[in-house]
């Protein structure tokens, strides 16, 4: 039987060649590779967040408009079900992706915002990073930061509230 490393090597070679399909049979085991056969695979992913109940989203290879619509709905913090009374009127800035929360552009720099800070729609409030993709999160609302809900360096979930903002 082939070792994993050898299979990786084979994938590499097949990828670089003009072969469309590759079959290897030896001693009862069989490996089949096909270049464009992976079109219909469907992956299931669980997304959790504090405000939104756990929910599965089917990701399809084709651009799936209905799925996007569904996600939009789930991210919007407009239905504060489990929010304390005193924060009922506060706006939540949520994380658009899973990743690491950074309060400042670099470890030595000052935080983008602190409680009490005034923000406008395009103020940057933090960075969420995953796999060296940096997402500068904008407030998307005019108001005042009331509370920072995430710790510097903490892993945050998709849809997780990061800040409470008192709208103006």
């Amino acid at each position: 039987m082939l070792k994993v490393q050898e299979i990786r090597e084979l994938i590499k070679l097949v990828d670089q060649s003009s072969i469309e399909e590759f079959v290897y049979e030896y001693d009862g085991s069989k490996i089949k590779m096909k270049k464009t056969a992976s079109g219909s695979q469907v992956a299931t992913q669980a997304v959790t967040s504090a405000a939104v109940k756990e929910q599965s989203i089917i990701e399809q290879a084709e651009p799936a408009k209905p799925v996007q619509a569904e996600k939009t709905e789930s991210v919007k913090p407009s239905q504060p079900e489990e929010v304390k009374e005193d924060s009922a009127n506060l706006h939540k800035i949520t994380s658009p992706m899973v990743g690491t929360f950074y309060k400042s552009p670099s470890p030595d720099a000052d935080a983008y915002v602190k409680p009490g800070a005034k923000v406008t729609k395009d103020s940057i409030v933090c960075i969420v990073e995953a796999m060296k993709l940096f997402n500068e999160i904008e407030a998307e609302i005019n108001g005042e930061i009331v509370e920072v809900l995430a710790e510097d360096g903490q892993l945050v979930e998709y849809g997780q509230p990061l800040f409470l903002v008192k709208p103006e």
């Binding site: 994938i11 992956a43 991210v75 658009p96 899973v98 690491t100 670099s106 993709l133």
Partner: protein, 330 residues
């Protein structure tokens, strides 16, 4: 920015290969006078292009300058949209900053920003990226995929695969990927990739992919503090490499993989990424802002997240970290 006429002219010479193109044919293709064509050819000569002009046959390009100007990158470029807009500057603070602004102002998908040197190149956590003149590829690419923002990090792994394929194609060397997207030769870094996102909560406006490749630096060009961890293609290959050819190959492979990803999803990219990965199955150290995890790299998930098993047998999902391979001194 190249003029539309210049773009058409370069494209015509790319397609004609070794055939001659007459002044009239060029004028017809570009929709201008033969005098205008002649003026453009003179300008290209000044840039370092060499032309052979034969009476009654026309022109062909016999030699190209060793530059990475927009003209030099477009001559021989075979992509549909990646690199069709080239913003070239001799010196920039950071190609990423300029690309970020251009993307914000509505630059079309596939626009690239490239410089001969960066005065303030940067890496993760605002770390400095050493990018001296004429020796490397300092470039940013703007893409506008219609995918949810939480999938955007996958683009950084796609870029890593494209860089590996381009270096293999151009030099015959076989680089490896260290999660998520550092490219190594002989265990030392030759490429760093940093990506930024412009997005609303549910929609990507643009992704700006910054790519730094050490190409023709000699060993003595590296500052003492990074000599142990960084190298260049020249160092490993023993001879200089045409940066323009490497860029063309990179843009071609990036476009191919990007279209494959939009069509088929991340799965085919994951297989390719794993086939080039250096650390899978190995003992590694992952350093995050708050903690350090030692353990064995198991692989990546369907989203590109690193799976790591620590000594106690707990499996960690790593989204961001600096990875040290076993034996690293850092």
């Amino acid at each position: 920015m190249q003029s539309e006429l210049r773009k058409k002219l370069i494209a015509a010479f790319t397609n004609s290969g070794t055939e001659y193109l007459s002044g009239q044919t060029l004028a017809d293709l570009a929709g201008c006078s033969r005098t205008a064509i002649w003026k453009h050819i003179e300008e290209l000569r000044k840039e370092g292009f060499e032309f052979e002009a034969v009476r009654k046959k026309g022109y062909r390009i016999t030699n190209t300058p060793e530059n990475i100007t927009a003209d030099e990158i477009s001559f021989g470029l075979k992509t549909k949209f990646v690199g069709s807009n080239i913003h070239y500057e001799e010196t920039l603070d950071s190609t990423q900053k300029v690309a970020y602004r251009l993307a914000y102002e509505g630059a079309p998908e596939g626009t690239i920003v490239i410089a001969e040197e960066q005065l303030a190149g940067r890496g993760r956590m605002q770390r400095k990226w050493h990018s001296p003149k004429y020796s490397g590829i300092w470039m940013s690419v703007i893409l506008r995929p219609e995918i949810p923002p939480q999938k955007a990090p996958q683009l950084t792994l796609i870029t890593a695969v494209a860089v590996v394929q381009a270096i293999q194609e151009t030099t015959g060397l076989h680089p490896q990927i260290k999660w998520p997207n550092d490219i190594l030769l002989s265990g030392k870094k030759i490429t760093g990739i940093l990506t930024e996102l412009q997005a609303e909560s549910d929609k990507i406006n643009s992704i700006i992919i910054g790519i730094g490749i050490n190409v023709n630096q000699r060993e003595e060009d590296f500052p003492e503090e990074i000599k142990q961890i960084a190298t260049s293609i020249l160092n490993e290959l023993g001879q200089p490499v045409s940066r323009a050819k490497l860029i063309q190959s990179l843009l071609k492979n990036l476009e191919k993989l990007y279209l494959l990803y939009l069509d088929k999803g991340f799965q085919p990219i994951k297989l390719l990424w794993e086939s080039y990965a250096i650390s899978i199955g190995e003992f590694i150290t992952a350093r995050t802002l708050n903690k350090t995890i030692n353990g064995r790299a198991l692989g990546i998930t369907e989203d590109g997240v690193l799976l790591m098993e620590d000594e106690a047998g707990t499996v960690h999902h790593i989204y961001s970290a600096d990875i040290d391979l076993k034996g690293d001194q850092v």
